[in-house]
Amino acid sequence: MERSNDSLRFRGETPGFDRRRFLTYAAAAVGVAGLAGCGGSSIGGGGSSGGANTLGAITSSAYPLSKAEALNKSLSWPTAIHEPTKPVTITVANTWTPEFVVRQAQFDKFFMERHPNIIVNGQNTPAADYQTKYSVQGAAGGLPDVMYAEYSFVQEFIQAGRLVAVDHYMAAQPGFDLKDFVGPGLSFYQGGGKTYGLSYGVEPIIAVYNKDVFDKAGEPYPEADWTLEDMLAKAKRLNSGSGGDRMYGFGSFAQLDFPYAGPMYLQPFGARFLNPAQTVCVVDSPEAQTAYDFWLNELGPYVPTLAENQSITTAGVSAFVENHAAMDIAGTWLITFLQQETSINFGFANWPAGPKAHVTASDGSCYSITTDSKQQDAAWVYLNEYTSTAGQIFMSSSTGAASPSRASAWKTYLSETGNIEGANLFLTALESYATSDGVSYLPESVEIVDIVTPIWQKVWDHSLSIPDGLAQVQAAVNPVAAKNA
C-alpha cells in the first residue's frame, strides 16, 4: 500500500526529508569524510617496511631505520649465554607511546638478526592499563616471557611468585657489572635476598626553574649547594600576581599522599613517613611537624592551594608547565615534555638540602623474566641485552626518551637531550644523594596513598591542623603498613 503523506502523518512521521533524516545523513557523511580523510595507512598495516613484527612500523620520521641501523652496528653488544640451538619464540611486554614503539620494533628486529633462533613477539599496552592487564594475566597464568615493571608494582609480582630470580644468570654472564647501575640500583626489584628484575630506567627528583621569571625579577639562579631556606626565600621574592596572571613561587604542594614524600619532604628534616622496612608508619613525630610546618605554613602561601591546584592542573601537569610557577619538582620525564610542549626557558637545580640531610627520592623501572615463561634462557638473552649499556644507549640515551639506569649510558643521554644546562644534575643526584630508602613501593603503598589522601587534603585546605593530620595518618596507615611484613 502506497504510503501517502496522510498515512505518514497518521503514523507520526513527517513526510519528505525531515530534520532527523537530514541530521542522520549529515553525520554519516561527515563521519565518512573524516575517516576517509584520515586514511594513510592501509588496513592491516602500519606502513611498515622490512621484517615482520607484531609491533607495526619499524621506521618513522622521528626514528629512521637507517640511523638506527648505524647506531646498532656501532654498539658493543654483550655475549649471549644459553643461546638456543633451535628456534624459540618469546613474548615481551612494553608500554610505549605510539611514536616510541617504532624504536622498540627496531630493537627487536636487530636483536633477532643477532640471535636468529629467538623470535620476539612484542606486546605494547597503554601505560595506564598495563598493571591491570598483567595482574589479571598473572593470576591466570598467562604472563609474557619478559615484562616491564615499575617500582610501584613490581613487588606485587615478586611477592606473588610471578618473577624469576636472575642472580644465577647475572653470576654466569661474562662482564656483568652490577656497580654500573646508578642510584637505587636494583633495590626496588629485590626480595628475600634475590634479584628479580634488571633496572632499565631511573628517575631522580630534583628542581626545575623558569629562567625568564628569574631574569625578570633579577633573581640569581639557584646555586649547587642551595638549601630549603634559600628556596623559600626565592619563592617569596618570585611569587606575584593573581588570577590568570598568578606566578607561584613554587609549583607543587608538599603532598603526604605521595610515594616520594618521605625522602623529599620529611627526611631532609630528620623525619620519616614509614620505617625502613615499610611496615610501620612513624610520621607522627616532632620532626615531621617541623617539616610540614615549613612546607605548609612557610612555603604554603607561595604554592597553589588545593582548590587552585585542582582548577589549573590538567591531567597531572603542574602550574610550572603551564608557565605559572617559578620553580617546581622535576624528573627526567619533564625534559622532553618541556622541550616539545612548552616555550618555557628552563634550567635544573639540585634538590635543596634540608636542615638535617640532603636527600631526594629516586624511582625506577625494570624488566623481568616471568615464571610463566617456557623459554627462560632465551628470555635472559633478551633481558640482558635490553638492559645492557648498548641496549640502554639504543633505546633511552640516544632518543632522550628516558634516563638510563647504567652510568655508562648517561654520557650519550646528556648529549642527546641537548646538553641542557643542569641536566647532569640528575646524574649527580643519582650518584650522591638520591635514594630509594623511604620511597613507598611495597604492595600496600597504593592503599596507603588512598588512605592518606582525604586526610591530607583537609590539612592542605587548613581545615585540619598539621599535628592532628599527622596523628590521623599514622593511626590509619599502621594497620595497612603492617601487611607489608
Binding site: 503514523r11 541530521l23 553525520a27 592491516g44 602500519g46 589479571v136 591466570a140 590568570g244 591531567a315 610542549e341
Partner: protein, 287 residues
Amino acid sequence: MAVHSGIVSGRSARRAQRLLAYILLIGGACAFILPFFWMLSESLKGNKEILQYPPDFFPDGFHWDNFSQAWDSLPFNTFLLNSVVIAVLSVAGTLVSCILPAYAFSRLRARGRNVMFGLMLATMMIPAEVTIVPVFVAFNQMKLINTFWPLILPSWFGTAFFIFLIRQFLATVPRELDEAARIDGCGHVRVLFQILLPQIKPAIATVTVFAFIGSWNNLLGPLIYLRDQSKYTMPLGLQLFVSSQYVTKYNQMMAIALLMLIPVVVLFLIAQRSFVRGITLTGMGGR
C-alpha cells in the same frame, strides 16, 4: 476592550513562558554540548596551545592535520575494522540470545519460570571484577586468548539486563495478538518474529544501541585478551596515546576520540526514530 486586553495579556504571558522555556532549554543544551565543543576545540589546537591557562575556546589557526597525524601514528584503520567486526557480531549475538529467552520468560508458562527469571536477574549482582580471572582462565584453556572470540562469545549467551528489558516490553503487548495468530496456525517462531518483534521495535533499538555502545567502548576485554597490536580495537588505540611516562598529545587524543564518537552518534540518530514511532503509535492506539 477588556476582552481584547485580556487576550493580549494572555498572549504576552504565553510568549514570556515560551521565552523562558527556550532560555532554559538553550542553556541546558549549551551545557551538554560544551564538552563536545571543547573536544573539537582541543583537537584543532597546536601542541603549545592545549595547556595554556587561562584556556581559550577558540584555537589560533585550525590544525586539521592533528586528525591525520593521530590516525597515521597507529594502524587505526585496522583498529577500526577490528572494532566494527567485534561490535557487529556482539550486537547480533546479543539480539539472538536475549530475544529468545525474553519471549520464553514473557509468553511461555513453565514450572519454575519465575525462579529462573529471578536467578537470571541475580546474575546482574555479580561484578565483572569477580569473574574476570576465571573467565580468562577458561578462555586460556580453550586457547582463545589473543583472538576476538572472548570478546564476541559472551554476548551470544545472553545479557541479563537486556533479557529483562525485552521481557518487560513484551509483557506490554496484548496476548490477544498471540492468540489470534495461533488461531491462524502460527507456531511460536512465527508469533515471535512476525507478530511480536514488530511491536517491540523500540526495545530492539534500545538493546541494539546499548549493546553496540558497550562493545564499541569496551576497553577491559580487549586489554586483557588481546596481545598483538594488529588485533587491538579503537579504545585500546586511543589509550596508547595516554602515557604516564612521556609526552601525551592531548590534541591528537581528542581528535581520535571525536572520530570514535561518530559511529555511535550515527547509530543513535538512526535508532531514535524507533523510539518516537513506538511512543506515537502507542498513544494513537489508546493502549
